[in-house]
């Protein structure tokens, strides 16, 4: 800004041909823009992400016909055709359609197609499947509040769980920091294609998430293990409140800075306008004097001009902005809805306390995670449009998970809430379809009418919404990203295998192909056996199968 103020002064002065008497015009500052907090340099949005979008491998169009298309919108097409082209879903239609020339045609008869599954809660890449001291990067447990921590900075692209998740039909995940901290840091959303870096795998334009935690974990890690704060749920909320109040203060500081800087620039503008008016006046008179050559009043004027030369329009010193603070700025972004808030929270009362805090300090919760007691407050969560990311039947591992029931997702869904089945596990992420299936079955068993279409939304369009990417993912609709899974059986069957998985229209996984993780190279992977002839659907053999008997005495 200050440099702009001095532009081109000598050139203009010379052009007027009377340097020294008629002063140069002030530089341009007509529309002083209101200064805003510039985006932090480490933000993932922008050109880096676009690099990834440009790296989508070219693939000829892919046509799958004859399969049952489960759209992720709640609808199903019994025998349909889906065409993937240029990274997007081009066509979704009933019946057979002619394939464009040069396309890869796949007979999907008897098979099922769904959108790629989306996991709102993964620690893939930061809590790698292979558990080692050296590779563990889940929790920046050096302070209970680390909003400045970015999972993207720790992401290990060779985590062997990545390809296993894809083999389970998962195409996109949110990679979160762990829940040791009250505020764990920034999560980011990736597509599960091989990439050299987190940023290459990042979904361009997807809003980052802010990971927060309620309840036992921060208490345990800091209070119990280190005799520090927080030691209680009171300390949890107090710590979170303090962090957000600091963020509000920073936002006010930026606003104040913005006001002051605006005022300064406006003041400069006004002074320049005054200067310009005076200068314009002198120029006009000078021209008049030149034209007429009359000494009166020109001599008087010139004397005046000499005696009272116009001062350069003053350039004020810019107001120093507040210090950059990536952590607190992340919380500001959460307050402003630019970063979506995801809260690890089990108990109903913990969730209600978090909502009270959110109202108090001014943020919105996008999704509660784990949320085993969501069913107890499902009316509140539905009314506030808070997604409930939960499991089907994981419970009892700590006190706050004691009241988990397998109907949780079904009850939330029935009440008009957005249920999501998430994994939080490198094992569970390989079977998200099964988890959704169990949650659906548990609901039905208890008399809750859950359709397969609805249950599929729990792992497709609902998580897409929770991650703010539903405009481009989570359903089979023309124009959406071609993230698609071809299943051997209904995805609700325990026997279903993802046979092929496309991400952005390119084949990302094919059953039987060797793994891509560098880590697993040289581990003597024997050839994958062929697909079982007909695993299930419950096809008992005609004659008894004699089984080997274990050794020793019976």
């Amino acid at each position: 800004m200050p440099r702009l103020l001095r532009l081109a002064v000598p050139a203009l002065a010379l052009a007027l041909g009377c340097a020294g008497t008629v002063p140069p015009p002030a530089p341009l500052l007509a529309q002083a823009p209101r200064p805003i907090l510039p985006p932090p340099p480490w933000q993932l949005h922008g050109s880096i992400a676009e690099g990834w979008e440009g790296k989508i491998p070219a693939s000829p169009p892919v046509v799958i016909h004859g399969a049952t298309l489960m759209l992720g919108t709640g609808k199903t097409i019994e025998r349909g055709t889906i065409i993937l082209d240029k990274g997007k879903i081009a066509v979704v239609a009933e019946g057979d359609l002619p394939a464009p020339t040069g396309s890869i045609v796949i007979d999907g008869t008897g098979k099922f197609v769904t959108p790629g599954l989306i996991d709102t809660h993964s620690h893939i890449g930061v809590n790698p499947m292979i558990g080692t001291v050296g590779g563990e990067d889940t929790n920046e447990a050096s302070n209970p509040s680390t909003p400045e921590a970015l999972t993207a900075d720790a992401f290990w692209t060779q985590d062997p769980s990545i390809e296993r998740a894809v083999a389970g039909g998962v195409t996109a995940v949110q990679v979160l920091p762990g829940s040791a901290n009250l505020i764990g840091g920034r999560a980011f959303t990736i597509k599960l294609r091989p990439g050299a870096s987190a940023r290459e795998m990042h979904v361009g334009g997807a809003p980052d998430g802010l990971k927060m935690a309620c309840g036992e974990n921060p208490k345990r890690v800091y209070g119990q293990e280190r005799h520090g704060a927080p030691m209680t749920r009171m300390g949890n909320l107090a710590g979170q409140r303090a962090a957000f109040l600091k963020a509000r203060k920073l936002r006010e500081q930026w606003a104040r800075w913005s006001d002051e800087e605006s005022r300064r620039l406006e003041g400069d503008s006004r002074k320049r306008a005054t200067y310009d008016a005076k200068r314009e006046d002198r120029v006009r008179r000078d021209a008049y004097c030149h034209q007429t050559g009359e000494p009166d009043p020109c001599d008087t004027w010139r004397k005046q001009w000499r005696d009272q030369p116009l001062e350069d329009p003053p350039v004020s010193q810019p107001v120093a902005p507040p210090d950059r603070d990536p952590g607190t700025e992340t919380l500001v972004a959460a307050l402003e809805g630019r970063v979506l808030v995801h809260v690890h929270c089990y108990r109903a009362d913990d969730m209600m306390a978090m909502l009270a805090l959110a109202d108090e300090v001014g943020f919105r919760v996008r999704s509660f995670h784990h949320a085993l007691e969501a069913y107890k407050i499902r009316d509140v969560l539905a009314a506030r449009q808070i997604a409930v990311s939960t499991w089907s039947d994981w419970w009892g591992f700590k006190m706050e998970s004691f009241d988990g029931i397998p109907e949780n997702a079904a009850l939330v869904s029935e009440s008009g809430g957005r249920a999501v089945i998430h994994s939080d596990s490198f094992e569970g992420i390989q079977r998200l379809n099964q988890e959704a299936s169990k949650a659906m079955a548990s609901g039905r068993r208890s008399g809750i009418d859950v359709s397969e279409g609805e249950a599929l939304r729990w792992v497709t369009s609902n998580p897409a919404w929770a991650l703010g990417v539903d405009h481009r993912m989570g359903s089979l609709e023309p124009g959406k990203d071609a993230d698609v899974v071809l299943w051997s059986h209904s995805p609700f069957s325990v026997y279903a295998l993802a046979e092929k998985v496309w991400i952005d229209g390119a084949l990302a996984y094919e059953r039987g192909k060797p793994p891509w993780s560098d880590f697993e190279l040289g581990q003597e992977p024997p050839p994958t056996p062929p697909l079982p002839a007909s695993p299930g659907p419950f096809d008992p053999p005609r004659s008894p199968v004699l089984l080997p008997s274990p050794g020793g005495r019976p």
Binding site: I130, G131, P160, S161, R164, E216, R220, Y375, K376, R378, D379, D393, W394, G396, F397, K398, M399, F402, D403, G404, I405, L411, F426, E427, R431, Q434, S437, K438, M440, A441, R445, S446, F492, S493, V494, Y495, E520, Q523, E524, T528, P529, P532, P535, G536, P537, F538, D539, P540, P541, P544, V545, L546, L547, P548, S549, P550, G551, G552, R553, P554
Partner: protein, 427 residues
């Protein structure tokens, strides 16, 4: 074996009684009152998978006095209460052999743990899970509703963790519920063993050497005419049970090299080994088959450590194909409810269907020495069975009836009570 002193004889009798519960059950089988109250039941019209690989369509199963009394196509049981199971499937009750059911209520709450002896001594062979078993655990009704009728109740921690029990998932007291109070001795050779794999093998051998010396010279030891032994007296007694072949020894190992170590130790010491976990067991399937050693696998086991770096989804399938007796466990407690899903995934990965059913019924019973009374549907066996709405391994299927020792048990749990309380929100 010779009992050279009355005290030793008594101890050995007690150990023997514990170890071979099917021969000499202790404590007594289901409370007599409960059995007397239960009417004879005849389940009619089902597809019956017996757990041996045999499948009988349109068959009936009769249970009476806690036992299976008839099974097949043409049975009649006058006086029995008939239960239609038309279009349904009957299997033996499911067994998860490696759980901490009844020992742990809430994982992260230490006050609810009775699954380990505690202390620094890694030799805890004398520790008995049975002594801490809580038949009122809230976990029991939850997993029972998923068709589990028996579990292995396994102690954790240390090198020798102790002795597991066999619990039927019914009964008001531990005495009623436990059909075996000392079914197997559990040893951990793998990662996490203090000092590493070699130290683990060293200590195991030392402990058994001592137990052998103790066994041979018990009288001398009683008179203080013996060298010092590393394990305590109770540990030595448990180890003697294993040396006598009365207690199977369950080696919890993942790495192929350690599985071979376990086999070698077992040959050397003449133990009855069972492999638990065995993430890399498929790599040594031939050796396991030749030694006739059953393997209890966790089909959801992942590449989580360098010991398990060869973990594969098709471990069970490959072992079975090589002729190994494969059992399946969740390795979980609260998560034992997922047993049939876990088995279904093993089928998905290539394990033949009937082998998967056997892996959660017959094989674990046989591996833990309970095969004489449990694990299959056969006349004379304990009447633990499940009536399913369809394929028991499929996710949409539910257990319609669960029968334990001839009695239909409740499928309600604390979780169903929570569901009912919150079915409608009163706010």
């Amino acid at each position: 074996m010779k009992a050279s002193s009355p005290a030793l004889a008594l101890v050995l009798v007690l150990i023997a009684a514990d170890a071979s519960a099917q021969k000499n059950p202790r404590p007594r089988p289901p409370a007599a009152a409960a059995v007397a109250e239960a009417p004879a039941l005849m389940f009619v019209g089902a597809t019956v998978h017996t757990g041996t690989g045999e499948v009988i369509t349109d068959a009936s199963v009769v249970v009476s006095q806690g036992k299976i009394t008839q099974i097949g196509k043409n049975v009649s049981a006058p006086g029995a209460q008939t239960v239609s199971a038309k279009g349904m499937v009957i299997t033996p009750g499911l067994v998860d052999p490696l759980t901490a059911v009844g020992l742990v209520e809430v994982d992260l709450e230490d006050s609810t743990h009775d699954d380990h002896q505690g202390g620094a001594d890694p030799i805890r062979a004398g520790f008995r899970a049975a002594d801490g078993y809580n038949p009122a655990s809230v976990v029991i009704p939850v997993i029972r509703a998923e068709g589990l009728t028996s579990v292995g109740v396994v102690p954790r921690g240390g090198l020798f963790s102790g002795q597991s029990a066999w619990a039927d998932l019914d009964g008001a007291t531990a005495a009623e519920a436990l059909a075996g109070t000392a079914t197997a001795l559990h040893v951990h050779l793998g990662v996490g063993a203090d000092g590493g794999h070699a130290t683990a093998v060293l200590r195991v051998r030392e402990a058994f050497d001592d137990a052998r010396a103790f066994q041979k010279n018990r009288a001398g030891w009683e008179r203080n005419q013996s060298r010092r032994f590393a394990p305590s007296r109770l540990d030595l007694e448990a180890l003697v049970g294993a040396l006598d072949g009365k207690l199977p020894v369950v080696f919890h190992v993942d790495r192929a090299a350690d599985i071979l170590s376990a086999l070698a130790l077992s040959r050397e010491l003449q133990l009855r080994p069972v492999i638990a976990g065995g993430a890399e067991a498929w790599k040594v399937a031939r050796e396991l088959a030749a030694a006739k050693v059953p393997v209890l696998v966790y089909p959801f086991e992942q590449v989580t450590s360098f010991d398990a770096i060869g973990a594969r989804d098709d471990n069970a399938a490959r072992l079975f194909a090589a002729g190994v007796a494969v059992g399946i466990s969740t390795g979980a407690t609260h998560g034992a409810r997922k047993l049939r899903q876990v088995a279904g995934n093993a089928v998905r990965a290539g394990l033949p269907y009937e082998a998967a059913l056997a892996a959660i019924t017959r094989v674990p019973a046989e591996a833990l020495g309970m095969g004489g009374r449990y694990g299959t549907l056969a006349v004379g066996k304990v009447a633990n069975l499940v009536v399913w709405s369809g394929d028991p391994l499929e996710l949409s299927t539910r257990a319609v009836e669960v029968v334990i020792r001839g009695r239909k048990v409740s499928l309600r749990s604390r979780q169903t009570a929570l569901f009912e309380r919150y079915r409608t929100l009163s706010r």
